[in-house]
Symmetry: C2
Subunit: 199 residues, 2 copies
């Protein structure tokens, strides 16, 4: 059970991340300095370092939180009870829409976070991709349990994720002008659905 | 039937492209100037412009020729008589290997051509992608004629190409450190094979 002290600590962490995200949006990743984050919160930079061991750690948590926001609605679809094939379609369409929105609604922010993600090292991005593959694994295993997808095996989540990645990979979505390719995505999902069903 | 004059003309075009490619390799796309190409061939720049209407045209032909070299071995696989599923696997593996080689064997050259491709506009790249999709269409239609793939329809070549693109898209291959993902590619091809077979 969390204590009051834990909650306060979590609250301070969250406020530091809010301030850092606001500065990142305003000035870009190159100018994000721990001292500016501390000043924005009227806090010593030593205090910021109590919560984040280094600037890299702060970057990593920031990127992880940003990418984590995408995961919640997708996790909800993965956790539903309905037919797996329908959930696979909605999961893939939602991910495609989210990535297009990130690229098109706020391209500067997308670029800033993309650069911040580079600086943060592969950690937060890998954690995001792992979370998405885990969601896909839940849907595929449910489809196997339904008897619809006898072809589901240990690598299926990874393979289906890769085959669908042209609809969510930031570099591809960006190169594509964030175009809405939902119709093609539905067809590719149907093809994979049929392949998994064939076993 | 080509005349001697045509052959000579084709030969001059080819020599101009050779010189431009050598300069691109040596100095990068930013410094590629028509006057330097002409000088390397002891030819007036007006003569270069007789063969290429503009520097953009020269860039486009250069990128088209470079990408065209990748297409020949793939076209040969598409044109074979053997079972379509086997040809699809070899076609996809060959494309994956080629793109990894381009990225890893000669990263500066890859970057230079990538930049030149940007400057050339989408034309040469689109022509390359169209050629690859046409090859895939031949294989898929052969598989439909064999009776193996009743699921092949008007958009199948485009859809299968997209699902396989994570193994050949330059940005993805580059971000991936040109890693050999042949094993996963085989699995994705098997999944698509099963999906097309299900109809």
């Amino acid at each position: 059970m969390p204590t009051d002290a834990d909650q306060t600590s979590e609250d301070v962490r969250s406020r530091i991340l809010d301030a850092a995200e606001a500065l990142l949006r305003r000035h870009g990743p190159d100018k994000l300095a721990v001292t500016d984050v501390a000043r924005a919160l009227s806090m010593s930079h030593a205090n910021v370092y109590r919560y984040f061991g280094s600037k890299t750690d702060l970057f990593q948590q920031l990127v992880r939180r940003w990418l984590g926001r995408l995961e919640a609605p997708l996790a909800a679809i993965a956790a539903e009870d309905g037919p797996a094939a329908d959930r696979l379609t909605r999961w893939a369409l939602t991910l495609h829409r989210q990535k297009r929105e990130k690229v098109s609604a706020d391209p500067e922010m997308f670029a800033a976070f993309d650069k911040a993600a580079d600086r943060a090292g592969g950690g937060p991005v890998e954690a995001h991709l792992d979370a998405l593959r885990d969601q896909l694994r839940i849907i595929l295993e449910d489809g196997a349990a339904e008897g619809r997808w006898p072809g589901v095996g240990p690598t299926s989540a990874q393979d289906v994720f890769t085959a669908l990645s042209p609809f969510s990979h930031p570099a591809v979505v960006l190169a594509d002008g964030a175009a809405d390719r939902s119709e093609q995505l539905r067809r590719v999902v149907r093809l994979l659905d049929a392949g998994l069903a064939a076993g």
